[in-house]
Amino acid sequence: MNLEKMYQEIILDHYKHPQQKKLAPLDNGAVEVHHVNPTCGDEVTLRAQVIDGVVVSVTWDGLGCSISQASTSVMAGLTQGATLQHSLDLTAQFLSLMQSKGVTTEADEVLEDGLAFAGVALYPARVKCALLGWMALKDAISRESGELNE
């Protein structure tokens, strides 16, 4: 297996120049979550704000490997400005890509830069790294929706 398959240029670019890696102020009902990967100690703090069914802001900070950092960057870029439903769909699609063992489908195209992580799905130990930020988003959205429903 060669390394370049896993560490695509897109991934290294996001790792070196992460998007939205600066926590926005916690106001107007924004939600903050903190997720860790207990097997390696990687962590991400994520703040998300949903207004009228649109995820208007996704910002984060974190410590971790290139895969977790790049994946969180891609996730933040894709979901900020998207509708709540589309963000959840993207999350589900990314999860399915991670379970694909590297075989992509047309449906994965919506993931744009996220498609670059297909190679990561070949390394079970790294799938959790790639999912860290996405699972934080999912958690933030469900908490936010929970609060909205109250």
């Binding site: 297996m1 390696c40 100690g41």
Partner: protein
Amino acid sequence: MPEPKLNAEILKKDFPLLERTVRGGKRLVYLDSGATSQKPRVVLDAERDFYENRNAAAHRGAHQLAEEATEAFEGAREVVARFIGANSREVVFTKSATESINLVAYSLSSADSPIQWIPGDEVLLTEMEHHANLIPWQEMAKRTGAILRFIPVTDEGLLDLTNIDTLIGERTRILSFTHASNVLGTTNPVRFLADLAHSVGAVVVLDACQSVPHEAIDVVALGVDLMTFSGHKMLGPTGVGVLWGRFDLLESMPPFLTGGSMIEIVTLESATYSLPPKRFEAGVPNMAQAVGLAAAVNYLTAVGMDAIAEHELDLVTKAISGLEALPGVRILGPAGPRGGALSFLVDGIHPHDVGQVLDDDGVAVRVGHHCAWPLMRRFGVAATTRATFYLYNTEDDVRALIAGVERAQKFFGSAP
């Protein structure tokens, strides 16, 4: 030049797994023995032989097989006892070293414990403990009201004994610490700490998981009261650990797991318990695993523990100098004297990514917090890359490690 005492190139032929390749035909360079060691054929054969020829429930039944199974199991106990300079009635077989420590923490805090806890009594640990020698005590503290205290670690990775006199005092009931750090490679001053703890009447527990597999151990000379280690880190099978204890102390300790095999007399209302070690071995024991462990011990003894220690020190010393020669690589832990666990950081590259590049070259290392999360925090890092060495590792393995780290630096463009 003196003849090397140990020839790893020859020894590694005894380990079937080390013959396999990984990641598309790469030679396997196994540098993760600190997590678990590979097994020589004699260990696998011993387990198979037990199942094929002597399998029956030890200590039960009047038939010949039961006798032979008992003999095999008790014979294994003798072998393990001799290996650490102990009497066999002081050797308890557990499932793992983790179970051993849980056994001790639970037994010493139950109603019949020889230690009667008064809230505010103290358990002294160190900042460099594996979670297995931390969390059982946290749980025990909840039950007893005990306070956990910690011997700090210096920047160099040694125990900071500057204020040891204030840490060990009349409230100290238990001192439990690791002989050799699984992260830093630090070897701790066991006798010194044990004597200090005994001067205030504390019970001394030693986590010897990273020392018993790698050096000659005389448990009496160490001066501790209880000691734990695991079989699978010393060429033995998984599913078997050891608790050694001073017999009079073991005899005063109530059981942890209860059930069959560990009793004297049972009525519907109550039971009395066997003497150690059986008191602590409820259920049909892990006979095949104990037999496998004894085969591992015999193998290690035949190679020679001093030769193994010398070989590993040679490898780790070469690895340290090779890694230190790379700009941007920092070793965590003491220069020496030290054990074989070697943790390092590569500037600008997360340990997971270092490990991934090494893996691509067939080099298996451990990355992460090594079940010592508080120690990671102490050094302000989330994770490290760790190489650990054993008798089957060679200088080629060390070269592969260093070349892999260089490749990671090139790959991620972080080479200064």
